[in-house]
């Protein structure tokens, strides 16, 4: 036990030495969230989390000419989605064509301190998959998975997710309180799915990525909500019977309460 602990200590020391040895990283990014566990209870109508952080600057690092910029990307659990398009068939509108997207994020928020184009170059945005525009949306094409960039179905998926408030891109959501202290609000609307959400914070200066910091939070259903969902999924028959009994009980109570003879 002791041996293992000292091994770990040595490893940590070595790791920190290597970290310090990397010359380009003169800044350390420390970010945290106001809450790492969002609970969905019966009065849940959405919640706002606060991301805050600070940049620790090493005096020995290279000089920076411009101000710091932050791009925070919040990615929700991934679920496959089908986008369908309606077409007029015999006078009525019918879903005729559809595309299946493999595991796009169910929630995506890109919060930045400036418009992305002002923070870094277009090439960097593409390379770092920055912003909704550069996010990968692999789709199913005849049992194969590929990326179709100009697909109208993909555009429609992004647009519909934006309309539901599940995808957002806000160029001025991150505010710097001091040149090194920043905060941003992450709005989670009511219809966000439960699961683990990744928060990836990237620090930019003079147009290039300096460092990044990863954290996460989870959204869970608790108490009664959790109980109902579990019952409906795991004990479907019992749940069905219980619901039917509830209906009978309500009906019976009504007939007794309003009896007029």
């Amino acid at each position: 036990m002791n041996g293992a602990r000292s091994m770990l200590a040595v490893a940590l020391v070595l790791a920190s030495m290597f970290a310090n040895a990397r010359p380009a990283v003169a800044e350390r990014l420390i970010a945290s969230l106001s809450n790492h566990r969002v609970m969905i209870t019966s009065n849940y109508t959405g919640v706002e989390l606060v991301l805050f952080g600070t940049i620790e600057r090493d005096a020995a690092g290279p000089a920076r000419y411009g101000p710091y910029d932050i791009v925070a990307t919040v990615t929700g659990p991934r679920e496959s989605v089908r986008t369908r398009r309606k077409q007029r068939v015999l006078g009525i509108w019918v879903n005729t064509e559809s595309r299946t997207f493999i595991d796009p994020p169910s929630y995506l928020a890109v919060l930045a301190s400036h418009p992305l184009d002002a923070i870094t170059t277009v090439d960097n945005e593409k390379r770092l998959k920055l912003g909704i525009r550069n996010t990968a949306f692999p789709e199913l094409i005849h049992n194969d998975i590929g990326e179709v960039s100009n697909d109208p179905f993909r555009t429609a998926l992004v647009r519909l997710m934006r309309e539901r408030g599940l995808y957002t891109e806000e160029p001025n959501a991150v505010t710097f309180l001091t040149p090194t202290l920043f905060r941003a609000a992450i709005w989670l609307p009511a219809q966000v799915p439960i699961g683990t959400y990744d928060v990836d914070v990237k620090l930019f200066a003079d147009g290039s990525l300096i460092t990044r910091s990863d954290s996460a939070f989870e959204i869970v259903k608790v108490g009664f909500e959790q109980f109902v969902v579990n019952a409906a999924r795991e004990h479907a028959l019992l749940y069905g019977l219980a619901t039917a009994m509830m209906a009978m009980l309500t009906g019976w109570i009504a007939s007794v309460a309003f009896r007029r003879d």
Partner: protein, 308 residues
């Protein structure tokens, strides 16, 4: 006051849903129908997914028809034999309906079929009811006595075998058409989230020639039994019954139904049928417009499965 619905996954205003339950309950009490055909579209309108709306309204209809059935049973105004014969078909019908429902959902065509069924059924029933009641009103205006002869006094299926005697209703007919009607009601109910009372009552009156005394009570019993069964089926196959939503709806529904029943007794029969016919027709028309008019958004999305 907002409440988060665990299965529908959206927050709704409790008072809004309660008010919808009351309003639909009022109408259902007034006309002696389940009200599912009004409730399902209303829920879809406030943002509940059509599949969850259909499955949860089924539970709501079970509750309101149960309280109705008890009231008719106390007055001895229902035919148990007839209800059980209908139920035999109804159980099979709802199994077929739920299976089709699941299949259509996988094909992305569920919303279309729900829409089309509403247009066809509500349109047809609405037109028939309006025409029949207008004729009845005109006749009474002219001062002639109401036509007491039941229409369709002898149709082909009255010659079918397996004849059964339904004592309480004083009819003697083959079990085959009765089971078939039950099947149709169960099938339609599972797909549309309706009890089918608005279909069953005219069918029993015009086809099986069940007297008005027992027809509504019997229809309520059948509605209650098929809807309870369909609730369980929907819960087991699609996991889409939202018990919280169903509870709010049924509390509003049963209270509204009591006031509706009072109001219904003060209106003359043919006027009541005309009103109901117009109501049925307008809901059908609303669905027809939705199918025919170019939708605001041609695209829609549906989550089909969790990630890793």
């Amino acid at each position: 006051m907002q409440i988060y619905l665990p299965i529908a996954d959206i927050p709704v205003n409790v008072f809004l849903v309660l008010a919808m339950g009351l309003a639909v309950g009022f109408i259902s009490g007034m006309f002696g129908i389940g009200g599912g055909f009004l409730m399902t579209p209303l829920l879809i309108f406030i943002g509940v997914q059509p599949a969850v709306a259909v499955a949860s309204v089924t539970t709501h209809v079970a509750a309101s028809s149960f309280s109705g059935a008890i009231a008719y049973w106390r007055r001895n105004a229902l035919d148990g034999t007839l209800a059980i014969t209908l139920l035999a078909g109804g159980v099979l019908g709802s199994v077929a309906g739920v299976a089709l429902f699941t299949w259509l959902r996988a094909l992305d065509q569920l919303d279309l079929v729900i829409g089309l069924s509403y247009v066809t059924l509500l349109g047809a029933v609405g037109v028939l009811m309006v025409a029949e009641s207008v004729r009845a009103i005109m006749r009474s205006r002219r001062g002639k006595p109401a036509d007491l002869r039941r229409p369709g006094s002898h149709i082909w299926f009255h010659g079918l075998p397996l004849k059964l005697r339904f004592k309480r209703s004083k009819v003697y007919v083959s079990a085959i058409p009765v089971v078939a009607i039950g099947f149709l009601i169960g099938f339609v109910g599972a797909i549309m989230g309706v009890g089918g009372g608005f279909l069953l009552v005219p069918m029993l009156i015009y086809l099986v020639r069940v007297p008005t005394v027992t027809v509504v009570g019997t229809s309520m019993v059948l509605t209650f039994l098929t809807m309870t069964w369909t609730t369980v089926l929907h819960a087991v196959t699609n996991h889409l019954v939202d018990a919280v939503l169903a509870l709010i709806l049924m509390v509003g529904g049963v209270i509204g139904a009591q006031f509706g029943a009072h109001a219904g007794q003060r209106i003359r029969g043919e006027r009541l049928r005309l009103l109901l016919g117009l109501l049925v027709l307008s809901v059908g028309l609303r669905f027809a417009l939705q199918l025919v008019l170019r939708p605001e958004d041609l695209y829609s999305i549906r989550v089909i499965g969790g990630g890793p």
